[in-house]
Subunit: 352 residues, 4 copies
C-alpha cells in the first residue's frame, strides 16, 4: 500500500514561528511542505534568502532554494498553517478558508469568534464541531481552526485535568515569558538583558479569556465558556525559549496535594488523540524535585509537546500553588498547530 503525504503550505514561513513550522514539518510522517508563503517583501525570493533563520540548525537543503510565494490562496496544498501576524491574518486566513483550504492558525485573529474552534486536542477536541456551523454561516468551503496563545496553552493544559477532577474556580497566574514569544527581531536586547519587563501587550487579557474558552463545553453546538475568575500578571524575562507560569488555584472540591499530582500525572486526552504523531506520551509531566520545572532544563521534554508541572503545594489563599513550564514555540505555537492538523486528519476533516 502506498501512503501519500498531505501537501501543506506555511503562511508567514519566514518569521520565527514560521521557521518552527518548517523545522517540524521537514520530516513529518503525514504532511509534506508543498509551499512556503509570506508577505510581498519575501515573495519571489528563494527561502534561504528571504528568511533570516533564527532557530538552531539550518532549513532542509531542498527548502532553501524553494521560491517563497505570496499570500494568494492558490497554493498546491490541502491544508495551510498560518504563522501570520494578527493584522494580516484576519484577511488572508479568511481568503484561504473561503477558497476551500483547512487553515490551522497560530494567529489570534479568529480565536475569539464563536464559530471558530480554539483547540488543544487533549483538552477539547470536541470543539471541532463548531466547524460545521462556521462553514455554513460564512459560506466557506474551507475553515479555520485556531491554536491558543502560547502561555494560555501551558495554563490550560495544567488546569484541565484539575478542573475535570475538582472544579477550578479561581486562578492567579503570574508568567515569566521567554523572548522567543515576541518573534524576531522582537524584544531589544537593551530592554531585556539582565532585566525583567513586567508587561506584554494584550497577554493578560488573552490568558484570562482563552483559558475559559479552552475549558469551556459545547452545548447544542454552542460553546459555553468556563466560569473561572483569572487574574494574570505577564512578565518578559531573559530566557530564550520556555514560558514559566506560577499558579495559585482555587477549587470547588479541595484535593490533597497528592491527589492533584496523581490527577495531573494520569491525564490523557481522547484515545484517538493519544495516537497522533505529535502527541506526547503524557500531556503533563510532573516533577518532584523542589526546584523544577525550569524553562531551560524542562522545555524540551517529550519533544517540547508536554508541559512540566512541579512544586504542587498548598496555597494559603486559594487551594494549591504550582509551577508550569511550556515550550512556547513548540507546544505553544507551531507544534500545537500541527497537532491540531493531525487531529483534523484523524477525525476526517481533512483528507489526502
Amino acid at each position: 500500500m502506498t501512503f501519500r503525504k498531505i501537501p501543506v503550505a506555511i503562511l508567514g514561513a519566514t518569521g520565527a514561528v514560521g521557521q518552527r513550522f518548517v523545522h517540524l514539518l521537514a520530516h513529518h510522517p503525514w504532511f509534506e511542505i508543498a509551499a512556503l508563503a509570506a508577505s510581498e517583501r519575501s515573495a519571489g525570493k528563494p527561502y534561504a534568502e528571504a528568511c533570516k533563520w533564527v532557530i538552531p540548525g539550518d532549513p532542509a537543503p531542498e527548502l532553501q532554494a524553494q521560491i517563497v510565494r505570496d499570500l494568494t490562496p492558490d497554493v498546491p496544498a490541502t491544508l495551510v498553517f498560518s504563522a501570520l501576524p494578527a493584522n494580516v491574518a484576519r484577511e488572508v486566513e479568511a481568503d484561504f478558508a473561503a477558497a476551500g483550504y483547512a487553515v490551522c492558525s497560530n494567529a489570534s485573529a479568529y480565536r475569539y469568534d464563536p464559530d471558530v474552534p480554539l483547540v488543544i486536542p487533549e483538552l477539547n477536541a470536541d470543539h471541532l464541531v463548531l466547524i460545521g456551523r462556521q462553514r455554513r454561516e460564512r459560506g466557506w468551503s474551507g475553515f479555520i481552526v485556531a491554536s491558543p496563545n502560547c502561555t494560555t496553552t501551558g495554563i490550560a493544559m495544567t488546569l484541565k485535568p484539575l478542573d475535570a477532577a475538582f472544579g477550578v474556580r479561581k486562578v492567579v497566574a503570574t508568567t515569566l515569558q521567554a523572548i522567543s514569544g515576541a518573534g524576531y527581531p522582537g524584544v531589544a536586547s537593551l530592554d531585556i538583558l539582565g532585566n525583567v519587563v513586567p508587561f506584554i501587550p494584550g497577554e493578560e487579557e488573552k490568558i484570562q479569556k482563552e483559558t475559559c474558552q479552552l475549558l469551556g463545553s459545547i452545548a447544542a453546538g454552542v460553546r459555553q465558556d468556563a466560569e473561572i475568575v483569572i487574574s494574570a500578571h505577564a512578565n518578559r524575562v531573559p530566557v530564550l525559549d520556555g514560558h514559566t507560569i506560577c499558579l495559585s488555584v482555587g477549587f470547588e472540591q479541595v484535593p490533597a496535594v497528592a491527589e492533584a499530582v496523581a490527577v495531573l500525572h494520569a491525564y490523557q486526552g481522547p484515545p484517538d488523540v493519544q495516537g497522533l504523531p505529535s502527541a506526547p506520551q503524557h500531556p503533563v509531566v510532573v516533577r518532584s524535585e523542589p526546584d523544577r520545572p525550569q524553562p531551560r532544563r524542562d522545555r524540551d521534554i517529550l519533544d517540547g509537546m508536554a508541559v512540566s508541572v512541579g512544586r504542587v503545594r498548598s496555597c494559603p489563599l486559594l487551594t494549591l500553588r504550582m509551577v508550569t513550564v511550556v515550550h512556547n514555540t513548540l507546544r505553544g505555537a507551531a507544534g500545537g498547530a500541527i497537532l491540531n492538523a493531525e487531529l483534523l486528519v484523524a477525525r476526517g476533516f481533512v483528507t489526502a
Copy 2:
C-alpha cells in the same frame, strides 16, 4: 562645633552584603568604619586580601589595608552592623548585644523573636519600644534590631500605605529575584543563565511571616501581627540586582486605581525619619509608564532606597494588581540596616 562620628563595626565584612556596608559607610555623615570583622578564615588578613570584591568599584584605599578582626565582641565601636549568615549570627549577635553593642542585623536569626524589633523606619519605627523589654528580659546591656528579608522589604513598603488607607486583607506575591540576593558565590551560572529557578529555600515563608510582622502594631508593649493572608511564589531570574514582585491585593475598602496611586505617591514616614541621611525623599516612587518598574532601570532610584511601583490596575480576583521593584542589597539589605541605625541615633538609642 565639632561633630564626632560614631564608630561602627561590620560583622561579616567580606561577604557580598558586607561589601555593600563597606561601600555605603565609606562616606557616611554620622558613622565611620572602625572595624571590619569576619570569620576565622578571613581574620588577621588585610581586607583587600581577605575579600573578593564583587560589587562595582573598589573598597576605599584606607580600608584595603585594614586588618580583618575575628568575631569577638571587643571592637572599638558603639554600633555593629551584622551581615553574618543566619547560623553564625544567632550566637555572635547575642554576644555583641550582651557585651553592650547596638546590633543592626541583616540576618534572619532574631527576626522572629517577639522582643526583637523588625524595622523599616518609614513603616514601623514605633516597634523600637520592644528594645526595652529585650534588654530587660535577656539581661543585655546592648540590643539587636533586625532588618527584614530583602523581598519582604519591597512588599511591605508597597502594602503599608495601602493598608493604612484601605486595609489589606489578602495578597498573592510572585517574585522575580536577582542573583545577588543569594550572596557570593551563590547561584551557579549553569543554573540561572537563560533560565528561571522557581524556588528559593525559605523565601516564601519569610515573605508570608515578615510582612505580617512589619504591618503589625504594638499594643501594651507587645507586637500584634497584621492579619493578612499572603500566598508567595518565589523565583530566581537572571538579573544582577533588584527584585521584582507582582502583587494581587485584596482590600477591606475598595479603592479606585487613582486613589491607590495617590496614597502610594503621598506616603511618608514619621517626620524624624524623613530627615535621616539615608532616607529617600519618597519611600515609594510611582511609575506611570505601561512597562515599568523594571529592575535594571529602576533599582537605583533615590540611591536605591525607594521602591518603585507601577502597573497599578484592577484585579479580576482580588482588588488591585501592581508591580514593585526593590533594590535587594541596598534598601533590602545594607541600606535598610543603615537606615535603622540612623533611626536608633535619632531616637537616642545610640549616642556618640
Copy 3:
C-alpha cells in the same frame, strides 16, 4: 564675577547616545542644554514623549517638557553635539558647521577627512590645528571635530602611552563588545542572549584605520597616520555596557612587563587637558588582579572616562599581551565628545 554657561544643542537627542549626552550635560559646569534636536519623526514633540529613555534614571524634569526641534541649523547655541547616524550626519553636520556652529561629532561621517581632527584630548590635542585648514578650504564659519569609534577609543588610549615610550608596530585586537554600542533597538535579544555574534559591520575597518589616525602626528599642518599594522576581530557579546579588548602588541623596543605597566600608569595628557571638567584623574587605570579588567566591574571607573588595563604579560608571538575595558557610551561616545568640547573651550576655539 558671574560665569555664563555656554549654550549647547544635542543633535539626535532621542537616540541611545543622545540620551547619554542629555544625562551627562544635565549638570555640566560649563555647558547648558539650550536645544534638543532630532529627525522629523520626533520634532515638535515634548522630549519625554519623543524619546524612549533606555538608560538608567529619568531625564531631568525641565528637559522632559522641552519641545524637540528639527535639524535645521538655527538653534540658540554656540556648540552642538552630534549623535546622529552616519548617513544623516554627513549633511546635517556640514550645515551646522557652515552656519557657524562648532560641531563635536560622535558620528563617523567626517572622521576620515584629512582636514577634520579626530581627537582624544589626552592623546592628540595638537590635531586641532586642522580646524584652521578645514574652515579655510571649506569656507565654513564653524567647524567639525570628530570623536573616534568607541572600541578604537579603548585601543588608542591603551596604545598611545606604549607607543610614545616603545614604538608600537603590530597589533592584534580582538573585541568583545557590549550591546549598547549598537544603539536602540539595536541588537535583537534573540540574536545575543546566551550567544556571541562574531561580526560587527564596519567595525574592524574602523579600528584599523582610526587607531593609526589617532596615533599619527601633525607635520606642516598635515596629519601623518602612524604606521601600525593592526588586525582586528570584532565580536558582540551579551554585556550591557563596556567593551573588552584583548591585545597582542609588537613593539620597536621591547619593554619588560613592569616597564609597560609603569608607562601605562604614569600616562597623562597635556596639562591643560588634565584640568578639564570631564578629564579623568588617570586616562589609564592599571589593574593587578589576575582576572581584571571586567566590563561590568570596571567600566564605570573614574566616571567611565578612564580605560582599565590588566593582564599585561608577554606574548609568545609579538611582545606583550594585555586586556583593556572602555565604557563605550561614556568615554567611547558622549563623554569623549564632551571632553573634546571642553578642550575646544580651553584652547579658545569656542567662547561663551
Copy 4:
C-alpha cells in the same frame, strides 16, 4: 550473529562532563554502561541521588537507580571513561591502567607525558602507536589515551587541514568560552552575568602546548611537536555551551581565502575514522554567512561533533583570520573521548 556490547565504566560520573558521558552512552551502538563511579562522597548512593543533573533531560531510568561505585579499579568493564578532576585523575587513572583497563581520559593529568597519546581521531590517529611504549615502560597491562582540552580541540581541528596544505607557523587565538567548560557549580553567576572574565587559569598554556602536540608527528616511535608559535587569550563569556575562537593564522605558503575554505570543507580523517559511530560526516563545517558561526546556533551541528568555521578572510598582520565554534562538552569533552574509544576498538586496542 549476536553482537555483544563492550561494557564501560564512567569515572567521575556525577560531574557535568560525567553526565554528558552518561547521556551520550545511553544508546551507544558499541558500548553499554556497566558501572558509574565517583568519589567517596557519592559512592554507595543511587545515581539519581548522588548526582545533581545539570544538562537537559533526565538520566535514563535504569541508570537512576544504579548504585554509584567508588574509584577502585575493579569495575565490570573493559574500558573506562575518566571525567575526573586533574588532581584525582593522576592516581586513579594509573591504577586503572595498571589493572588492565583501557582508560579514555578527559582529564589533563597525563596529557603531556611523552608516552601518552593525546588524540583527535581525524587528526592524529597514528599517535596511538605510543600505547606500546607506554605499556612497556610503565609495566601496565592497560593504558591511557588522553583527549585534549576543549578549546584546543576546536583550534586544532581548524588548523590541521590548513597545516597539512599550507604549513601553519604563527597563531593568535582569542577565545570566548562557555560557562559549562568550568563544570558545576563552576562559574558564579555574580561573576559572569552581563560580564566577561578575561582569564581562565591554565587555559592559555594548554592551548599553546596541546595544539603543537596534536599537530605533531611520530618519528621512530617518538612524538615530535609541531613548531607553531601560538599566542592565546582566554575569556569566559555568558554563553551556556560552545566555545568561540577568533584566529589569526600565519602560513608558510600563502593560500587564497577560497583555497583555505576548500581545504577546510574537504578535510576528512582516515577512512576507518570516518566510519566510527560518533564521527561527524565532516569534521569541519564551513559557514558562508557574514555573522556565523555563533555558539548558540552552531554548536550542535552534526550532533555537536563537528567544528564550525566562518569569516575566513585575510589578515593584515599574518595570513588569514577566521572564527571557529566547538561544542566544548560534546566534541571538546565527552564526545571526543568516546570517539577515541571507538577508534581504540576499530584499531584493535580494545576488544569485547
